[in-house]
């Protein structure tokens, strides 16, 4: 499989890219910093990626560069089968309420700019006859909960968009995979209180890869979070007002 990957240098993205490399997939990495990308490319190459791992700078805060980055990937890979987006920003509810600049950044990156990137990827994938567009959203976007209202709002919008892509374009060969991680131990969640069913990145990545291979439109990772979120969605409003999760 030939994969264009935005976000392979950290956390779940790194774990997923490694699984792909170790089974011999061909990867092209997009990310903010060239040196970090090159370091990650070397790691993936040693782990088994089938050819040189190409890299190009692409920053979710700079949508004007999305087209060129995807063109660079096309130039190297010729054609690709999948685009994976694991990059994004996070802030605690407290931090996002207090810091207007951070709030705008997080909302813009996780919603507006991620969707803009997906739109450009969608056009290219459709032109190539289809493929997989896998984007990491979050269980935080399934239902408003006190610790993740703002972050969750951006992810809710993103999930809504991905849902729409699936119903609109699946018949034309575009398989949209929305991955919704529950709580996963990464640098992003460092220091937050761990709820039950917390997973490590390799386990979450393995579940995401199974979803990509199966073309599943929505994947909770680990899968127990599907049940957890179903329960959360059933909670009446008066309960949600009282509990703090």
């Amino acid at each position: 499989m030939k994969v264009v990957f935005l976000g392979a240098t950290r956390g779940m993205g790194r774990a997923l890219a490694r699984l792909m490399a170790e089974r011999g997939d061909e990867l092209f990495l997009l990310g903010r910093r060239l040196d970090t990308l090159e370091g990650q490319a070397a790691d993936l190459r040693i782990r088994g990626a089938s050819t040189e791992v190409g890299v190009a700078v692409c920053d979710l805060e700079r949508p004007e560069g999305f087209g060129a980055a995807l063109d660079a990937a096309t130039a190297t890979l010729d054609r690709f089968d999948a685009v994976v987006v694991t990059a994004g920003l996070f802030g605690t509810q407290e931090a996002l309420e207090q810091d207007a600049a951070l709030r705008r950044r997080v909302l813009t990156v996780d919603f507006t700019n991620t969707i803009e990137f997906c739109e450009q990827a969608r056009v290219r994938l459709l032109a190539m006859g289809g493929g997989v567009l896998c984007v990491f959203s979050s269980v935080a976007g399934d239902r408003a909960r006190k610790p993740v209202i703002l972050y969750g709002a951006a992810k809710a919008g993103l999930s809504y968009y991905l849902d729409g892509l699936d119903v609109t374009y699946r018949s034309r060969g575009l398989r949209t995979v929305a991955v919704k991680p529950g709580f996963v131990r990464t640098a992003m969640t460092e220091g937050l209180k761990e709820p039950p069913f917390t997973a490590d990145p390799p386990a979450a990545a393995a579940a995401a890869l199974r979803a990509i291979d199966a073309g599943r439109p929505v994947a909770y990772v680990p899968s127990i979070w599907r049940v957890v979120m179903l329960a959360v969605k059933c909670l009446p409003r008066w309960v949600r007002r009282r509990v703090d999760f």
Binding site: T9, R10, G11, R14, E22, G39, Q40, A42, D43, I46, R47, G91, T92, A95, L102, T186, A187, E190, G191
Partner: protein, 441 residues
């Protein structure tokens, strides 16, 4: 957003416990900046990977685990300090390479293996881990990042191998792997009814087998005390080994802290282990089963109960040898300290680590649950070991007193001097360095 978070630290023995702060992210150069210590997977037993009490930041390296380079002809691999041995094995066993030296668990990082200068079943043939390290990239106390090796700043290099993270943060490790005909192990285990014949067999085996270790049963009494099982192995012949590479084994984790390991269960486990198999077993085994048998039970340290445990590992020089071991058993018996585990290993001469633990002689490692009198037991053992010219392994230790360690370690002043040269203000320190080297907390 600041990524420094409050954390409770303890080693594998779950004693002692220190509260501090940690930073854990992918960028090692960033997270080590201003940290007092680096910590990997936290598998040292005592306080070697713990910050001193107070408001100190520890850099946790486990997310910095990239492979940086691999020379497939020479078998030289370069990686970030947080790469785990489990990952290294999983990736390189199938390609015909194995680590020349590895400890009894693969839940350790490269940086941790350097800091403790670990040894294993191959010590008599391959020496310590540090013998196979070609170079290190470290961040010294003033913030500079240096590449050190036998050729560049050799003194700092030797002080860092086994230096418990106190001479600099290990950022990158370049390691020479060993070619292996097969990752599978041709193993034998043989039962011996008394301590003398067990040690004879251990020493005999070292001439013919690259991997050896002995396990002794200290819960039996009288003549059979110290009876045990010798394990020896070598890379299997590819023609008889499975053609497929070994798949990582499934593990299960002890879900909660529960003191299942009592005197009675320990006696039963030792009996079961001793009598559980026939006198001599031969076969081809999974390398994880051979090298890391206890890894199958994740978090088994919880079985020692709430107070945790310590491992006492000491090496006695050849002139003390097995008679010294027997005296250690006498002290344990007299003080009613029954160890669950007693592992014996013959070491070859010390390597290049300036303050590394191994030296020529016989090493024994003993698990002791923490009880009210455990400090007194350790003191009595250390009195004896110091008198015999032996020394203890700091990566296991939590209870040795500074005066005992000094008495065991004629090399300490030289090492402290190198440390002072690179870190005059003692910016790098740990709970262990406060306890043993008198660093201000």
């Amino acid at each position: 957003m600041s990524d420094v978070t409050v954390a409770e630290f303890s080693g594998w023995g779950r004693h002692p416990v220190v509260t501090g702060r940690q930073r854990c992210a992918e960028n090692l150069a960033r997270i080590t900046n201003g940290a007092v210590l680096s910590r990997g997977l936290g598998r040292s037993y005592g306080d070697a990977s713990l910050p001193p009490p107070g408001d100190h930041v520890v850099a946790v390296t486990t997310r910095a685990d990239r492979l940086l380079a691999f020379d497939s002809d020479a078998g030289v691999v370069r990686a970030e300090a947080g790469l785990s041995l489990a990952d290294l094995n999983r990736l390189f066993w199938p390609r015909g390479w194995c680590p020349p030296s590895s400890p009894g668990t693969q839940s350790v990082t490269l940086g941790g293996m350097v800091a403790a200068d670990v040894h294993g079943k191959s010590h008599h043939s391959e020496g310590c881990f540090g013998e196979h390290v070609r170079s290190l990239r470290i961040r010294v106390a003033d913030g500079r990042i240096l590449d050190v090796s036998d050729d560049v700043e050799p003194e700092l290099f030797r002080a860092t191998l086994g230096g418990l993270g106190l001479t600099g943060h290990v950022l990158e490790v370049e390691l020479r792997l060993r070619p292996a005909a097969s990752p599978w192990i041709q193993a034998e285990s043989e039962r011996f009814g008394d301590f003398d014949s067990l040690i004879d067999a251990l020493q005999d085996a070292s001439a013919h087998w690259p991997y050896t270790v002995a396990w002794a049963d200290l819960s039996s009494r009288g003549k059979s005390r110290g009876r045990g099982i010798l394990e020896r192995g070598r890379a299997a012949d590819p023609s008889t080994a499975p053609a497929s590479p070994p798949v990582p084994k499934r593990t299960f984790s002890v879900p909660l802290v529960c003191p299942l390991l009592s005197e009675a269960t320990v006696r039963a486990l030792n009996m079961a282990r001793y009598w559980g198999r026939s006198k001599l077993n031969r076969g081809i085994v999974h390398p994880e089963s051979f090298f890391y048998p206890l890894d199958v039970v994740g978090r088994f340290n919880r079985l020692y109960g709430r107070r945790g445990f310590t491992q006492y590992q000491a090496v006695l020089p050849p002139r003390s040898g097995r008679a010294g071991c027997v005296k250690v058993f006498d002290i344990l018996e007299r003080m009613r300290a029954t160890p669950l585990l007693c592992v014996l290993k013959d070491f070859r001469a010390a390597g290049k680590g300036m303050i590394s633990f191994p030296m020529h002689g016989l090493s024994m490692a003993i698990d002791l649950p923490i009880r009210d009198h455990t400090q007194a037991v350790i003191d009595a053992l250390n009195d004896f070991v110091a008198g015999e010219g032996g020394r203890v392994y700091l990566a296991k230790d939590a209870l040795t007193r500074a005066e005992h360690f000094r008495a065991m370690e004629p090399r300490l002043d030289d090492w402290l001097q190198v440390r002072r040269t690179w870190d005059p203000d003692l910016a790098l320190k740990s709970a262990l360095s406060v306890r043993l080297f008198g660093d201000p907390a």
